[in-house]
Each structure stands twice: as structure tokens, then as C-alpha cells.
């Protein structure tokens, strides 16, 4: 069942080893790509494609839904969804990196190796069933990304970004660890009070935590609340919610742009996978304590992200703020997912999953576009984009579509996912006791309208303003990556029902 993870791990190590054999060559990217594509195919196959089975190679019965208790892991549609999303991100980033990394860059093998190892960590986060395992996988991914940001050792901005990312990252993971230690204490105490039984799950099993924490809530409420706050702060850092977001613009701006793409998509997806698992399974019994606070954070996050993006002149920074805003939208899923009505909760979670998938394509694509313009020496600032539509008509069109999707213009993917998210919040608001959740939808709609303004400004620069005229030659890997992103953005919107069916199923199974 873990074949995709194994293949990704293997190719990661293989790449590092290959560096010593073939030296620093761009061809290493192809090896990484092959590994990723195989893993992606296998994940898709497990998720319901069932192609191998039809070919006579019966490894599993698609769609796979299986527990691996010995490894404290599970492979369910929910997990497979994240694997697919993460591996897709990997494919896009590797494609773009193939052109982004210059001949002068050293350690290309390590770059891809770290990328793959980070992906493996992220995949394991999604698959874990135990808080400890989740944390270890989370750290595995984090450590790899710390190193990735510092990849360009001679670059002043890159190293500064790495330093900031590292310091804030380790502080957050220390905070998370402290929070986990408190939760562990409560859970272990409650578990020791329970009648002993054989085969009882570990005190930190996520589903078991759901039971123990709600049992212990009356006795240990302050401790649990403190732990929850620490976890919100720690994971809030990863997914960049206000007020834990301040590193995002600096780091996204300073890091190599392909790494930024990776951070803004894969790393964020992992953060949300962890949040879904921890908040909607382990902490769901204590939901009354944190939903409102998280709701406020969600509104603050989307508002601040969009408002701060308005005056930005650097497209990279603008996209960084926009990705903060989008974290706010997905937070709606965490809030609605804690709703007492399981149907509404599953619907909200499905919206969150869907948004993450679309987000891979649209934000990933937009960052890749920025990386491309940087490589081609066009620049990363708004003014540099003037008249770009004449210089690269097809890719500028792709960028426009992705920006429109980010703004939530129908019939693109961004619209569908936002629609489901906001709609789930409205539905939750119709239930007595959680009327305030409607405000999430209202804030989301208003923010989407606001965001159109700065996305449209980029389009205006590309299409309306005059700029240099001479056409530019875009390297094929960039074009490929952008086409993947473009097709994804459009397909998730136009053929929404295919994906919706899958995410709803995944969300329903997630809640068991």
C-alpha cells in the first residue's frame, strides 16, 4: 500500500547518490520526474483508477481504504487525495526547476533529493494515525524544506530567507511539541483511569485522543485549551494564518522561486492535512473551545492577506499575501468540519480538500510563471509585466486563467471550491447554535471581490499596458509545467463533478 511513498523515498536517495556518479546535471530532474510520475500513477490507481487491476496485476482493490496498524499509518481515500495533490505539486515544481536551476547552481542532486524527501514527509503526515508519527513526519518535511530555502548559498536574500524560515520554523515546531506533550499528559492520564483492556490503542492514537480528550475535558480544561492554542500557533505558522503569517512575504520573496512554489503549495497542503487530522479527529471533542477562535482567525487571515496584497508591486510578494488569504479560505473547512452535523462537516471538509487541489494548480502555476519571468530576466515586479501578453501570448493567457481562478471567477476551479466552502459555511449557519458561521461565508465572498482587484491589475499590465515588444523564447519545461497547471485549473472547474464526487467520498470516509 505504501508503494508510492517507498518509490518516492527510493528515488530521493537515488538522486543524492547519482550526484556523485553523474555530477551536477540537469538530467537529474528527469530521474526525479520519473519517480514522481510513477508514484503519482500508483496513487491515482489506488484512488480509484484501477488500471493495474484491469491489466491483471492485482496489488490492491481500488479504491483502497486500509489501516496499517503496525506502522501507525493508514491509506484511505482521504490520504490518497493528499498524496495525489502533493505528488502533482512535486511534478510541477520539478518540471519548473529543470529550467530554473542554472548551470552555475551547485548541488542539483541534493536539491531534488531534498524535494523528494520533503514530499515523503508530507505524504506520511497525511497517512499517519498517531500524533507522534504525525509530528515526526511533519518535522521530516520541515527540515528538508529549511535546507531547500537555503539552497542558493551565495544569495544574500536567499540565505536571509532561510534564516527567517528556519528560526520561525523551529520555534513553531518547539511550540507544537510542547502542546503535544500537554495533550499526551492528559490523554495518558485519562487512559490510565479507563478499565484496562488488551489491544487498547496508544495514548496518542488520533481517534483514541478524540475519546480521551473529551473525557478529560471537564477535569483538565485549562491545560487542554493551552495545548490547543499552542497547536494553533504552531500549525498556524505552517499554513500561514494571521497572526502567525509574518514570515511568509519575506521568505517567499527571498527563497528561490521554485522553492517558494513548493512552500506555498506542498508545505501548506501538509499543514492543512495535519490540521484536519489533529483538529477534526483528535480535538473534535473539544471543538466548542476552539471553533470560534479559529473562525475569527480565518476571517482575519483572509482579510489581512487580501488587504496587504493590494499595494504590492512585487508579484511574488503579492502572491505570497494572496496565498495567506487562501489559507484563510481553507480554514473555513477546519471550522465547518468541526460542526456537529456530520453531513455539513463532511461537506465543509470536502470544500477544503477541493480548494487545496485547485490551489495546487492555480497558485503553483502562478508562482511558476513568476519563476519563469525571473529566469528569462524579465523581472518579478508588476511593471516588468507590461505588455507581456504580446511577448508570450499563450503563457500569459495561462497566467490570466490562473489569476482569474484565484479570484474565484466561474467556471474555473477556484470558483467551484470557494463556492463549496462558502456554501458549507452557510449551511452550517442555518443550524441553530452556529449561526455565526454565516459570517465566514460573507467575509469570504467580500474578500473574493476585493481580491479581484489586484489580480486584475496583473492582467491589466500583461494585456493592456505597453511594454517591450520582442517575443521571448520560453524553455519547454516551464511551458509544460504551466500547461499542467492550466489544464488542472480549467478541468477542476469545468469537470467539477468528477472531483467533487471523489472529495465528498474522501471526506465522508475521513469522519468514518
Amino acid at each position: 500500500m505504501l508503494l508510492p511513498v517507498i518509490i518516492a523515498t527510493f528515488s530521493g536517495f537515488l538522486l543524492i547518490a547519482l550526484t556523485f556518479i553523474v555530477g551536477r546535471q540537469r538530467r537529474l530532474a528527469d530521474a526525479a520526474l520519473v519517480g514522481l510520475l510513477i508514484a503519482l500513477f500508483l496513487s491515482l490507481d489506488m484512488a480509484g483508477l484501477g488500471l493495474l487491476e484491469r491489466l491483471g496485476l492485482v496489488l490492491w482493490q481500488a479504491p483502497v481504504s486500509q489501516q496499517l496498524p503496525g506502522l501507525l499509518l493508514e491509506v484511505t481515500p482521504f490520504v490518497l487525495f493528499f498524496w495525489v495533490a502533493l505528488l502533482l505539486t512535486g511534478v510541477i515544481v520539478v518540471l519548473a526547476s529543470r529550467s530554473f536551476l542554472q548551470k552555475t547552481d551547485r548541488n542539483i542532486g541534493e536539491y531534488y533529493g531534498l524535494l523528494l524527501i520533503a514530499l515523503v514527509g508530507m505524504m506520511l503526515v497525511a497517512a499517519s494515525t498517531d500524533l507522534f508519527v504525525l509530528y515526526l513526519a511533519f518535522e521530516m518535511a520541515s527540515l528538508a524544506t529549511f535546507a531547500l530555502v537555503a539552497f542558493r548559498k551565495r544569495d544574500k536574500r536567499g540565505t536571509e530567507a532561510a534564516m527567517k524560515f528556519f528560526i520561525i520554523g523551529v520555534v513553531s515546531s518547539a511550540i507544537i511539541l510542547f502542546g503535544i506533550s500537554l495533550i499526551y499528559g492528559v490523554s495518558a492520564h485519562v487512559a490510565s483511569q479507563l478499565p484496562p483492556q488488551t489491544g487498547a490503542p496508544a495514548a496518542t492514537d488520533l481517534r483514541f485522543l478524540g475519546t480521551t480528550l473529551s473525557l478529560g475535558l471537564a477535569q483538565f480544561e485549562p491545560v487542554i485549551i493551552l495545548a490547543v492554542v499552542l497547536l494553533i500557533a504552531g500549525f498556524g505558522f505552517k499554513v500561514a494564518t494571521v497572526p502567525f503569517h509574518m514570515w511568509v512575504p519575506d521568505v517567499y520573496d527571498g527563497a528561490p522561486t521554485t522553492v517558494t512554489t513548493f512552500l506555498s503549495t506542498a508545505s501548506k497542503i501538509m499543514g492543512f492535512a495535519a490540521m484536519f487530522k489533529i483538529f477534526l479527529i483528535a480535538l473534535v471533542g473539544t471543538a466548542g473551545q476552539w471553533t470560534l477562535a479559529l473562525g475569527i482567525l480565518a476571517i482575519a487571515t483572509m482579510t489581512l492577506g487580501n488587504v496587504a496584497a493590494l499595494p504590492q508591486k512585487s508579484i511574488k510578494r503579492m502572491l505570497a499575501y494572496s496565498s495567506i488569504a487562501h489559507a484563510g479560505y481553507v480554514l473555513i473547512a477546519v471550522v465547518v468540519g468541526s460542526h456537529s452535523d456530520p453531513a455539513i462537516a463532511a461537506f465543509g471538509l470536502a470544500g477544503g480538500l477541493y480548494h487545496l487541489l485547485v490551489y495546487v494548480f492555480m497558485t503553483g502555476g502562478a508562482f511558476i510563471f513568476v519563476a519563469m519571468t525571473a529566469t528569462l530576466l524579465i523581472g518579478e515586479r508588476l511593471d516588468d509585466y507590461s505588455g507581456l501578453a504580446r511577448r508570450m501570448p499563450l503563457l500569459a493567457f495561462a497566467m490570466m486563467i490562473m489569476l482569474l481562478s484565484l479570484a474565484g471567477i466561474p467556471p474555473l476551479g477556484g470558483f467551484v471550491s470557494k463556492f463549496i466552502l462558502f456554501w458549507s459555511a452557510v449551511q452550517a449557519g442555518l443550524v441553530p447554535g452556529s449561526e455565526w458561521m454565516v459570517s465566514l461565508a460573507v467575509a469570504g465572498v467580500l474578500n473574493s471581490a476585493l481580491s479581484l482587484f489586484y489580480y486584475a491589475r496583473v492582467i491589466k499590465h500583461m494585456y493592456i499596458l505597453e511594454g517591450p515588444k520582442e517575443p521571448v523564447k520560453v524553455p519547454t519545461p516551464y511551458s509544460l509545467a504551466l500547461w499542467v497547471a492550466l489544464i488542472g485549473t480549467i478541468a477542476t472547474g469545468v469537470f467539477a463533478f468528477v472531483f467533487i464526487d471523489f472529495v465528498t467520498q474522501a471526506a465522508a470516509l475521513f469522519f468514518g
Binding site: I225, L292, I464
Partner: protein
């Protein structure tokens, strides 16, 4: 097919237009022509079935399921809705678009970058057709936004002119206000009925909860107001005249602005659920008709005059719809008449206003200015254009038996009939009559100033080429003849009425219409309005043709001058909007800047100071604790100490500090604030 053809043309031109003859004009013309052929086919079918006995049932063609599963009861299916209303407008829009696209070949002939123009025109046409043919409100909204986008792009076609760019932005922003409300309305309908489908919503509309009956129609109406440039969202249309004249003709006279009327007509089942909603719509319509006409009196830009006139005429249509809705709600007579007259006026207005704009375009093409004071005496030089404009002017003024007369009569009669239910309608009828007078006046002011009097132009104007005059002539025929539709069809009444009441209207013999209009019990109304036309026409002739009254006398005297200035400044509404917009945006920018500077830095400084105190020992703490809070805000300026400036952003630990403070705030919220507020 109707919708898809222009869309395909858009893509083709977008990709290859740069290398084609005339920037790919041929694709646009061909595709729009194809749409027209299909729409015409549908129209003929509808006419055969609906107008002369029998009914033309609404048909839905589903393309595919976009969202949701059938089992969950939550389904959004895209498709098209063909009924008499949409058929009429589809045929109308595709026909006018076709003519204008052909005209563009001449008008835009010497422009650079024509591919952009034609691709956007094609996209616009597909947006408009898609919106009209949409079978659900969501799809309607999508195409509605495409229209808005194209309008924005085309107004700003000459983007290097700052006025054009500003006008484009203004149009976008102002219509957006309406669109957002429209969106809210669509969502509200979805929340209430659980469907976006227009037919289903129409069927369910009588079951609209009572408290929603006012708000929902008005939300939809807000969208219509924005698109159709009604008060108070009218400000963008005159400025939109910065675009090419063909665009003004196509989008801002003949088609897009009608989308608002179409929306109101489409949602009439919702509107009639509340008397006051209809009254409000009629009031806005009547008021705008009057209000815009007054502004047209005092403008010298030929296109702006036409723009105000467009706003005014659209006001008539809303007046008719509102009156119809009102009458329908109370079961009064005149519902059918008002509704069909509004749609009838929509069609007639499209013809003669497109003609006026294209004529104006022809003139502008010849003299290269928009200012009527720099025209004059063009009649001899541009006979075709002049005569075409005359026909259109007579028609819009409402001179019988031209088309404008019949539909305007219908609307005014319906309004008068509705006054049986509410006194207000009588006053709106009076406003309508006043507007008739003013319309005649300003249209002939325009015509005389442009084509008669002393030549005031600088270069030698010449008649436009054939490709431009032929569409003018075709449209002139329609401006004369489209009114005659009233005889076989009762002015669309027979065609469209079933939509409203679900019943088929009785067939009215042509002679009866004549008798009703000129000799019936209420025929004095007709004569009053003809009198108004004659007065306006006569006065304009006196001033601008005979010179019997000096135009300057109109502005002589402080009172009249003040009025003139007020009209010229468009009642200062634009200025107010600009000022508001500027303040608002600047305010937000300032606020965020202030927040950035003061709150974030202040917080950080506070942390920095706290640590400093700890380092300095307790004796200092004592002294500072009193005024420390005050100081901490202005500390930087007070001390200027380098050590204290570490609070600037860009410093990692600031971010960590914010994280810690943020966590503390969350903790504070959960532990203290929520329990205090009684949150579970």
C-alpha cells in the same frame, strides 16, 4: 450553437488575429452572422407558433451537469432556455451585432491592433447571447460578467488616452456595485428555493417567503440598474463614450444596456410578488427617464447627448415593466400592455439608437471631433447620414407613425392605467410626458446643430464609405418599420404575454389598435404626448434652425445659468462619486498604513521596551511604569536610540513576537472573552 459560434471566433482571433486581414474581422462577422441565422430561425418558429394563435412553449436544452449529484437534490445544470422572450432578444442582438460588426470594418479600418477589437467584440456577443439564453441564474451571471469585462476592455480600447482608461475603470466599478447585489440576489434565491434554474424559480416564485418579497426582487433589480445605467448607477454610461463609437453603438446603446431590462423582464415572476418592488422599479425608471433627459439638454458632445438619451429611454422601459408588475399584482388592466410595450420599446430603441450612434460615428469619422459646436452644415455633404439621423430622431422623439411612437405610447398608457392603483403613477406619467417633450427638443437640437446652420468644421468632411452607410440605411428602414410590428403582433404582446400571466392574450385586430390609440376613451393621452413632441420639436426649430430665439438666452440670468451649470455638471453626482471613491480608497490605504506603522510597530516597540526594563532593573521600572505606556508609542522619536529600533519589520524576532502575542490573544479570547460573552 448561437452562443458558441462567436466564442469560437473569439478564440480564433485571439490566437491568430494578428496575421489576418482586418485583424480577423471576417471571423467575427461570419460567426455573428451564423448566430443570427440560427436566432432568426428560432424567432420565425416562435412567431409561427406563438404570435398568431397557439403557444410557443419554453424549451430547455441541457448541456451538462456541472455540479452536484442528482441524488442529493443539489444540481447545477448548464443549458439554454428558449422561450419567446429570449428568442426575440437573441434575434435582435445578433442582428444588430452583425450590422455593427460590418460597419466596424469601415469605421475601424485605419486602427492598429484590430485583432483585439474584433476578438473582444466576438467575446462580447457570445457573452450577451449566453446571458440571454441562460437557463439558470448562475450561468446568466457568468455571461453577465463576461459582458461586463468586455465592456470594460472595449471602453478602454484606446487605453493610451487617460480619459478612456479612467472611463473604463469607472464603468467597471460602478456596474460592479450592481453586480455584487445581483450576486447576493442569486445566492438568496438559491438559498430559498435550492435551485438556480430560471423556470423552476419562476414556478416557485409565488411561494417566496413574505419577508423576502421586497428584498430579493430589489437585489436583482440592482444588477439591472447597474447594467442599464439607471439612477443612481447611471454615471458610467456617459463616460463610456470614450470608447470607439461602434462600441458605444453596440454595447452602450443596442445590446448590453438592454441586458438589465431583460433581467428585470425575466424576473417578473419574482417582482410581482410585492407591490412595492414594482412601484420602486417604475419609480426609478420614470425618474431616470426624466432626470437623464434634463442632462441631455445641456451637453455639447454628440455622443454624450446620445448616452443620456439612452439612459432616459431605458428608464421608460423600466417604467413600463414596473407599471406592468404593479398592474399584474393588483389585477389591474394594462399589465400586458406595459410588459409587452417595454420589450417592444427595447427592440425599437435598439434600432434607432444604434442608428443614431452609427450616424454619429459617421459624422465623427468625417469631422474628427465629438463636439457639436464644431459641426454644422453637414447636411449637404453627408446626405445619407443626415437623413438616417433624421429618421432616427423622429422615431425616438415619438412622431407617429415611426416606431418609437408606438412603444412609448404603450408604456405611457400602461403607466396611466396603473395610476388607478396608486396616485404616484400619475406623476410618473406626467414625468414621462415632460420627458417626451425634452426628448424631442434635445434630439432636434442635436440634429440641427450637426447638420444645419453655419459650417464650423475645420477639415473637409466627406460622406462615409459604403460599408458604413449601408448598415445605416438598413437600420433606418427598421427605425421606421419596426413599429409596424404592432399591427400583426400587438407589439410583441401576443408573443410575450403568456410568460407573464401563463395565459394567451387575445388577438387584437390592427384596426382596434389604431382606434384605441387615436379615438379610444383614453386617446386624449396620445394627443397630449403628440403635443409634447410637437412643442419640443418646434422649440428646437425656433432656437437652432430659425435662430428666432438665441441659444444664449437660455443661459442668460443667474438662475438659468446656475441650472445650466448644474445640468452640465450632471447634478454633481459624478463629482460626488469620484470624491467618495477617492476618499474611500485612500482611507483604506491610509488605514492599513497607519495600522502597519502604529499598531504593529507599537506592539513591537512595547515588547522591546518590556525587555529593556527587565534588563535595566527594578528601580527604572518604578519610574517608568507610570508614563511608560504613553512613552512606548512615541518612544522612537523621543529617544532615537538604536537599540530600540529593533522593532522594525524585517526582523525575525519581531515575527516570533507577533506569533507569541497572537497566541496569547487567542488564549485570552478563549479563556476570558468568550466565557464573558456567553459563548458555549
Amino acid at each position: 450553437m448561437i452562443v458558441a459560434a462567436p466564442l469560437v471566433a473569439f478564440v480564433i482571433i485571439l490566437l491568430t488575429g494578428r496575421w489576418q486581414w482586418q485583424g480577423g474581422a471576417i471571423w467575427t462577422i461570419g460567426a455573428v452572422g451564423l448566430s443570427f441565422v440560427f436566432a432568426l430561425g428560432l424567432l420565425i418558429e416562435a412567431l409561427l407558433n406563438g404570435a398568431v394563435g397557439g403557444t410557443f412553449p419554453a424549451q430547455e436544452v441541457i448541456w451538462y451537469r456541472w455540479l452536484g449529484t442528482p441524488s442529493s437534490g443539489f444540481v447545477i445544470e448548464f443549458g439554454i432556455l428558449i422561450d419567446s422572450l429570449s428568442v426575440v432578444i437573441l434575434a435582435l442582438v445578433s442582428f444588430l451585432s452583425l450590422l455593427i460588426a460590418i460597419y466596424s470594418v469601415g469605421y475601424m479600418g485605419h486602427e492598429k491592433d484590430k485583432a483585439r477589437y474584433y476578438s473582444q467584440i466576438a467575446l462580447f456577443v457570445s457573452g450577451m447571447l449566453g446571458a440571454v439564453a441562460a437557463n439558470n441564474f448562475l450561468q446568466l451571471l457568468i455571461f453577465w460578467e463576461i459582458m461586463g469585462l468586455c465592456s470594460y476592455l472595449l471602453i478602454g480600447y484606446w487605453y493610451h488616452k487617460p480619459e478612456a482608461a479612467a472611463a473604463a475603470k469607472k464603468a467597471f466599478m460602478v456596474t460592479r456595485v450592481g453586480d455584487v447585489l445581483f450576486l447576493v440576489g442569486v445566492i438568496a434565491v438559491f438559498v430559498i428555493f435550492g435551485t438556480f434554474n430560471i423556470l423552476e424559480v419562476s414556478a416557485l416564485a409565488p411561494g417566496l417567503p413574505l419577508r423576502m418579497t421586497l428584498i430579493v426582487p430589489l437585489l436583482f433589480f440592482a444588477g439591472a440598474i447597474g447594467k442599464s445605467a439607471q439612477f443612481p448607477l447611471h454615471a458610467w454610461l456617459p463616460d463610456a463614450m470614450e470608447g470607439p463609437t461602434t462600441v458605444s453603438a453596440l454595447i452602450h446603446a443596442a445590446t448590453m444596456v438592454n441586458a438589465g431590462v431583460y433581467l428585470a423582464a425575466r424576473t417578473i415572476p419574482l417582482i410581482v410578488t410585492n407591490v412595492n418592488a414594482s412601484l420602486f422599479i417604475a419609480f426609478i425608471g420614470g425618474f431616470t427617464a426624466f432626470f437623464a433627459a434634463t442632462m441631455a439638454l445641456a451637453n455639447h458632445d454628440i455622443k454624450r447627448v446620445l448616452a443620456f438619451s439612452t439612459i432616459s429611454q431605458l428608464g421608460y422601459m423600466f417604467l413600463g415593466l414596473g407599471a406592468a408588475g404593479y398592474a399584474l399584482n393588483l389585477g389591474l388592466a394594462g399589465a400586458q400592455e406595459g410588459y409587452s410595450a417595454a420589450i417592444f420599446h427595447l427592440a425599437n430603441h435598439s434600432f434607432f439608437k444604434a442608428l443614431l450612434f452609427l450616424g454619429a460615428g459617421s459624422v465623427i469619422h468625417a469631422v474628427a471631433t465629438n463636439d457639436m459646436r464644431k459641426m454644422g452644415g453637414l447636411h449637404k455633404r453627408m446626405r445619407i447620414t443626415s437623413l438616417a439621423m433624421l429618421v432616427a430622431a423622429l422615431s425616438i422623439a415619438g412622431v407617429p407613425p415611426l416606431s418609437g411612437f408606438w412603444s412609448k405610447e404603450g408604456i405611457l398608457a400602461a403607466t396611466f392605467a396603473a395610476s388607478a392603483g396608486n396616485q404616484l403613477f400619475f406623476w410618473m406619467w406626467l414625468l414621462g410626458i415632460l420627458t417626451v417633450f425634452m426628448t424631442a427638443f434635445y434630439m432636434f437640437r442635436l440634429w440641427f446643430m450637426t447638420f444645419w446652420g453655419k459650417p464650423r468644421w475645420e477639415n473637409e468632411p466627406r460622406e462615409s464609405p459604403r460599408v458604413m452607410t449601408v448598415p445605416l440605411m438598413i437600420l433606418a428602414v427598421f427605425a421606421v418599420g419596426s413599429g409596424l410590428v404592432i399591427f400583426p403582433l400587438g407589439g410583441f404582446g401576443n408573443l410575450i404575454y403568456p410568460l407573464v400571466a401563463g395565459a394567451h392574450a387575445e388577438f387584437t385586430a390592427p384596426l382596434d389598435i389604431l382606434i384605441r390609440t387615436f379615438a379610444g376613451p383614453n386617446s386624449f393621452l396620445t394627443y397630449i404626448s403628440i403635443l409634447g413632441v410637437a412643442a419640443g420639436l418646434g422649440w428646437a426649430t425656433l432656437i437652432y434652425r430659425m435662430g428666432a430665439i438665441s441659444p444664449d438666452s437660455l443661459t442668460a440670468g443667474p438662475g438659468r445659468r446656475a441650472l445650466h451649470t448644474l445640468l452640465k455638471r450632471r447634478y454633481y453626482i459624478d463629482d460626488a462619486y469620484d470624491a467618495f471613491g477617492r476618499r474611500f480608497v485612500l482611507g483604506i490605504a491610509r488605514l492599513s498604513d497607519w495600522f502597519d506603522r502604529n499598531i504593529v510597530d507599537g506592539l513591537v516597540n512595547l515588547v522591546a521596551r518590556l525587555t529593556l526594563w527587565a534588563a535595566r532593573g527594578t528601580d527604572l521600572v518604578d519610574r517608568r511604569a507610570v508614563d511608560g505606556v504613553v512613552n512606548s508609542i512615541s518612544l522612537r522619536t523621543l529617544r532615537g536610540g538604536r537599540t530600540l529600533r529593533r522593532g522594525q519589520t524585517g526582523q525575525v524576532q519581531t515575527y516570533v513576537a507577533v506569533i507569541v502575542i497572537g497566541a496569547a490573544i487567542v488564549l485570552f479570547l478563549i479563556q476570558i472573552v468568550f466565557p464573558l460573552l456567553g459563548v458555549p
